[in-house]
Amino acid sequence: MTRKQKKQLTRIFLAAAIYAAALILPLTGAVQVALFLVGYVAAGGDIVLKAAKNISHGQVFDENFLMTVATIGALLLGEYSEGIAVMLFYQVGEWFQSYAVSKSRQSISSLMDIRPDYANVERDGQLVQVDPEEVAVGDSIMVKPGERIPLDGVVLTGTSTIDTSALTGESVPREVLEGDEVISGCINQSGMLTIRVSKEFGESTVAKILDLVENSSSKKSKSENFITKFARYYTPAVVVAAAVLAVVPPLMMGGSFLPWIQRALTFLVISCPCALVISIPLSFFGGIGGASKCGILIKGSNYLEALAQVTTVVFDKTGTLTQGSFEVTAIHPEHATEQELLGLAALVESYSDHPISLSLKKAWGKELDSSALSQVEEIAGHGVVATVGGKRVAAGNCKLMAKLGVQGARDCELAGTAVHVAVDGVYQGHIIISDVVKPDAKEAITALKRNGVRKTVMLTGDAEAVGKSVAQNLGLDEYHAELLPGDKVDELEKLLRQKGKGENLAFVGDGINDAPVLTRADVGIAMGGLGSDAAIEAADIVLMDDKPSKIATAIRISRKTLGIVRQNIVFALGVKAIVLLLGALGYASMWAAVFADVGVSVIAILNAIRALSVKEYK
């Protein structure tokens, strides 16, 4: 509780005590009235003062003024009990609002509490703590177990496990070894690490994320803008209606003004749009905060809103649905065992740094005896020929086999790059190397379908066969292969034209050379955003880890948030409309009006807080 909140709460209790005393004590006449008035001043003195101040500033129709008129009106009509109670409940409601809002502010700021306080640097043989902003690129910093990594860098010495959960929502710690890149904001868990800084603080991951989160609330959703606009007209409209209600019916129909004035005062109590105005941004804020708990950064509530209406999801292939790294996916030997074929190919290719050679080496996984290798001859665009144990071994594509006159080499039915192997001109078989689909890619597509996404499309610059195999494997609705970067924008334009009204299209990419597409889509989602500046810049939503299944999570969070927003709008407006109507007809007392104002606020706020909870998605 802040100091202001404590003070308010004390005042509320004091006023409530006086009010109770005035009701219970056997007082009559002037003494009781005097006690009621003391209670009124305790409950709402500040409101009356504020109203007076605002009028002197030329601000008339604010909630302070309305509450003052309504309650003083009640007092003048001799309804002392109602007058104080309305003021008291109004204050309780205000206090609760302030408390709920500061609670959720706190829970979100603690969520984003990833700012490192210091960096350990060695100066003159002593370990000193300095401000991370003072550390330059190339400096070495020490991170002890339990400390937060202050700057992005590369591990020079030490091994450890690091907790990335504050950034990615991933609860399994990551192992890091010498030479691995680490990002700021993660917590070093077990071992001492020495890190060479690769980015200054302002450019580091943690600074970028904080900046993004801080700016996220300046982009407002349509619902928020609607509500603030609505609030601007709602209050004056209700006040005018109240004035009309107080004067016109008695003039037209004759009779006493008194009951009509009472009805008009009831109107004034309901005229504050607080419940709506407070609960809508609170819901969005909660939704964005909840998403960031799951490692999903949303740059503004407008994007959260747009995400809820996504019916088409377009994926980039490499790095998004697939790992973007080549791996051996099949070995088809003609004579020898799989291991023998793989060992031979890896050995022959061992001199090269080509991604294909690297993936062969990785698949082999053991030391290669390069002393057995001689007369290595690399034929560009074909492959490698070398002598192993007196035999001429060739490893390469179909063209190489044709060139050497080897019989039996043919295209494999599997998509990917084939490495054919021949020994002394005799075909030995081939190894298929291809980009591997991410483990959760298939699940990601299924989850999207389950969550109301009707069309999933993949765009890729890769060969038709590769695109087709990935698309079929994952169950995508459409794929477009062999696209140049410019073609991707054209394809996206086509898809944008195909979608219906009120439906949105999301594009998911890794931010590497797909920035134009990310910007063009209704919602641009970048994955594995950590460390990629282009992605963070161009996208509307950044997935901190590179799991495509997070897209469905993001959509679910957005739908839930929007659902809460809609419930609050309908509920608050509905209750107010009903009470206004009943009030005009003389059926609603001031008590009902207090419920329509304060009660509705409290319920709407409690509902809005639900948006922050994301346990079910983790």
């Binding site: 500033h57 502010r105 407070i278 804020f285």
Partner: protein, 72 residues
């Protein structure tokens, strides 16, 4: 240029909307947005006018919501 200022003790959502509305009307302001939840105001305005705008914004906010403190 863009400037973010903190609005301490911004407690009521409707006031945030009022402040946003008033600041948007200051001469030279390209865009103004008040976030009730983060208690922050973002103002976009030409660099040369920024200081004058911030001064005026401070005065306006004090008039609209005397409880709110503007921290530049």
């Amino acid at each position: 240029m863009k400037k973010i200022v903190k609005l301490i003790d911004l407690d009521c959502a409707n006031c945030a909307a009022k402040i946003e509305n008033a600041i948007q009307k200051i001469d030279g302001v390209e865009k103004a947005s008040v976030s009730f939840m983060t208690q922050k105001m973002t103002i976009e305005a030409p660099e040369g006018r920024m200081d004058a705008i911030l001064q005026e914004a401070k005065k306006l906010i004090h008039k609209l919501e005397p409880d709110v403190t503007v921290q530049l």
